[in-house]
Symmetry: D3
């Protein structure tokens, strides 16, 4: 296992990176956002988590970590102070241009370590365009545990309430990773009275552009008050182990 400093690409000098590239071609690119995370979690949580998980995986696998992109696609959170959003096009271009820069130096396997669900479509479009334009396959994965992704088993075991934003799972992970969390201010996510029954009924079958302040008063979905550091530990360890396994297999490709 390498020391922390050595896995951060941006803490190396160019001759050190040149050395790395002689025998390796993998790099992790963490991406997050700066947006409201309920009344209790710091706004950088998606970027923070993407970087923290990337570091842990990198320490176990010896691959490098690029700088975390702190801004993402968050127009739906703009109703809460502090949220910063890029446009879809700008974000796709940032992803593409960072990847193309890395490719130019010889990185052949780039894994986007994403901490924000709202970035998913922009990443998908970047991956498609990169493939068309360069012929190269870039990978992307969600660093948070989910019931259909990494650490799915542990999620099912430990997490009682869903949600998807500043919820039980996300708060638990943050407590374990040392994020700044004002846990006593955590509030269950409840929709404002203005949310119509009509929209409630069709929430999964009909799409529309939904702003978070239309569906939650606190900014949370789900129930973050059920979170704990212990749950977070199990989740993080599982995610890190499973992504580590993926990276090890990717090395052999």
């Amino acid at each position: 296992m390498k020391s922390m400093r050595e896995v951060l690409l941006y803490k190396l000098t160019w001759p050190e990176i040149r050395e790395y590239l002689k025998e390796n071609d993998i790099v992790l690119f963490p991406t997050g956002s700066t947006e409201q995370h309920g009344k209790h979690i710091a706004e950088d949580n998606d970027a923070f988590t993407a970087l923290e998980i990337s570091k842990r995986v990198a320490e176990k696998t010896g691959v490098l970590v690029a700088p975390v992109m702190p801004f993402g696609y968050s127009p739906h959170h703009m109703g809460f102070p502090g949220t910063i959003t890029l446009s879809f096009d700008t974000l796709v271009n940032v992803y593409k241009e960072v990847c193309k820069s890395l490719m130019k130096h010889g990185f052949k396997k780039i894994v986007i370590m994403n901490g924000h669900g709202g970035n998913t479509n922009a990443i998908a479009e970047a991956l498609r365009e990169l493939k068309e334009e360069t012929g190269m396959t870039v990978y992307s994965l969600m660093v948070f545990p989910t019931s259909t992704g990494f650490a799915a088993e542990v999620v099912k075991e430990t997490i009682k309430t869903g949600g998807g934003h500043a919820d039980e799972m996300e708060t638990s992970v943050g407590l374990y990773l040392g994020q700044r969390i004002l846990f006593e201010r955590a509030e269950k996510g409840v929709p404002p009275e203005s949310l119509s029954n009509f929209h409630r009924k069709y929430i999964r079958r009909v799409s529309r552009a939904v702003d978070f302040h239309e569906i939650t008063v606190s900014g949370s979905l789900g129930d973050p008050t059920l979170a704990s550091k212990e749950k977070g530990e199990k989740l993080v360890e599982a995610v890190v182990d499973e992504i580590t396994e993926f990276i090890e297999e990717l090395k052999k490709q």
Copy 2:
């Protein structure tokens, strides 16, 4: 119930549309694609189905149907002859400009009736940008039955194999709607030998830009040979009924 001709916006004259707008403000905008649909279904199936379902809903609800957009986002099908794809940006702009044109005339409730999963991200982006730029909410729904969308119950009852493209469900719907289907040529979707175990294993947890010719020899996913017109009838009737109910409730909003 109105006759077919009257529900098609584009078969009306401008004074007739002006009349409609005096008391109504809903319009359905069907969107599809032109892309390979296995060895047995005509390439316009997503556009065809979007239009057919829209017509049926329109006849029951009396709302108008805009022209179907025949081209969608299909770069992943370009490995098969006949597929036509627009770029992501162009498609988002088409959706936005059609909706803005309709809004200018007084249509306040636009429902995009989508027949192609590959269009989903482009529609989502169009809906978001339309909301930011015009303040208006545009709705979108998938016209095909799915296990999480409209007609979910009937899907679970009638459809044995999943897939997601030119599969048992889609073929059944097409058989019932009168699409041109060479049923005897339908083939179960099997991946080419070149698909690695690595990619198989991480298919749900790691994203990459996948081309269909990399994962299916026939162009189908799932098993279309299990399709039948009877299954199609149940599915279509359920979808039409449930969307009709949605439109009736939308009228009251």
Copy 3:
């Protein structure tokens, strides 16, 4: 002569298109618009006509027909309900991307079958950019008879009044092709009283962006009341014959 179904590219499966491409390389791409056509013609008339003429030519020549693009460049008709317009840039991109998709599969001779004069500049720009970017020549022609284009002789013999929109010629063609026309509501195009003598005088010598509601009350130019199905038959047959001859010669190039 082939049956109707076989000439529509989008009603074929991908193996059928692959077969076609082994011995052929021509495809017709019909383009129209959705816009007001006076008080008597359905709004899809340009798209409808482009498709109908394309089908007839295709049946005679055996070439394939791509899906009709139903939306065009119609900002000048937005004063009348129901008109839908794309921006110039979006439309150029649609034309280019459809043609590039077709080229990728091996279509070497694409003929844009245009039914809307307002699309002309966008098509010209698409043709130029396609030539610069791909080295390939794409052809475009107007499907309506005109005094300087196809069926010029028949136009001079049969049509008494000019106009250029929802006029005697266009109405005659529609009557013959089976378009939905409320003939009893047809009105001669007359300018609103607000049109100044100044603009009248310089109409051919000085260009400006003119909106149709500034120059015609009914939406028609010319005199559609002089139209007849018989005139339409002569015009359509002549246009189809002459374009067919062009396609036959194009085959030999």
Copy 4:
């Protein structure tokens, strides 16, 4: 009549322009191109003529002339050395941004004095977008005499051969305006042997992106050897007089 210097907006100081705007709101904006003009005319002829005609009209009417835009849309002339072309989008933006700058200072009636047929579509698009975005009508006219535009009568009387580029008319105008013309090198425009009969036949009925070196060896169309300074004098005087009349009427609008 004012002296030459005073009519050129760009030869005035800002306080002088401020004075002009207190009682006037018209400005002429000449646009041309830099492109081959046969073996005998200098490459700036479209820009040169646009400026010369604008000056003469300005002297008679007292309106101001903006700087001439020397570059236009000339991809079809790139086969001949010296031709410079902008892209369509860039040119539309130049026209729009110059007009918007002028509007900001209070010019309400802008007349684009165009000397290059290849700019026509870009100007049309600029005029349309300016109207949509600012609500203001910008005018455009062709400074060369044509059989359907200004000085049509004189064209019919004096000019024997058509063409449209570096031809009898254009050479005559240039001889009178003092352009640098190597008249002894003028050559009748003849197509290279490679031009197929197929393309010859359909030249007016089927559009394609045509490069000038595909259709003329010398770069000229028509027969410039028939030109004379006397013809040029009649043409220029007529064009100037008729445009002057237009400007005088525009003042009253």
Copy 5:
């Protein structure tokens, strides 16, 4: 003086930011790059320094610090491994969209704390466009000491050799701020033999797009071996004090 955590906007929750905005409207936005910094300095130095200086100023003034933008405009460093560059347009858009997001929440005085000279033109363009589009003035300053900017006096006193990249000044600042520096590997910047005398001679009078690998072998300009932590301390303290004074005056505007 506030504690470190409180000055980082992204380590606050949205209710805390809402509180801040009730009485304050200033935010610092640090921007840097990820690019080669000679053989001895970590590649994130411009981002690192921008953030470090911002934090120190923020602690003294109580204003908030937005997340640092880690990627900048660095095409001229792409010849050295590890450099990441965005395109000019993408970077301008990132700056504009971050500022517009902050404005939407009520931040009225944004100060871009820039650590990379290569970003200067993109920032200038963003500032101009933000002023045109929002009417608001955004400020920008260079966080490194320079002989014409902040800490000019101390630069003149302490720094013997110029350069402008990974040089004596930059290395000194990094040594004091705790950057990862492999000081023993620092090398004086010398141009490769391929640099022509022609280009040497006109370096200040004629502009061209210069790549760093064309003008320096080590990646440094100037002489970083003369750097010391003591020099860095003087420089950093002066820069922080002077920027602090600026922020205090800005508060009163």
Copy 6:
């Protein structure tokens, strides 16, 4: 030395340019702006000077001069009547497309002869993108004498007051070159009373988008009343000689 006419590329015919290209590959591309130049200088001064200096250099060196681009980047002068500005993106594209057109014909060494400081960033971006896209180096220089560029020595000897716009130096140059100058109206540049001490103090250390009408009443910076034709002669002769020397050396590269 060649005669004037022969050095202007746009006054040649295409066969003449073809001849030139057989033995030469240098072209000067003058760029300026149309913008206020104080109360005394004509608004085209930057374009005028760029062209005049280019002609003089061309006559001495025998290289060709492309048409001058009369519009530049001048949003900061829009507060004064007559100023015309392009957007940054449009201007970059104009520069790139003109250069690419010239390259296509065989010009290998293009020198942008710039007369407007506000164009500098757009030119720098064009030069960078041209290098990335074509691999070719384009040069750019400022045609006005400056204390750090061409004619630096003469500037230091002859010019007493700085400024940077419509100042002592620029007015002197214009007087010598025969520009239209109303010298008796020249006024020293003084800021309006509204300029705050805050902004005065930080003018060199903090950037913001400054409009000229915020910092000067007359439009001038510096003191144009100290200008003279004699000073202009010395400055112009020195600039022309030094640029000529550069071009002669460039020929040998």
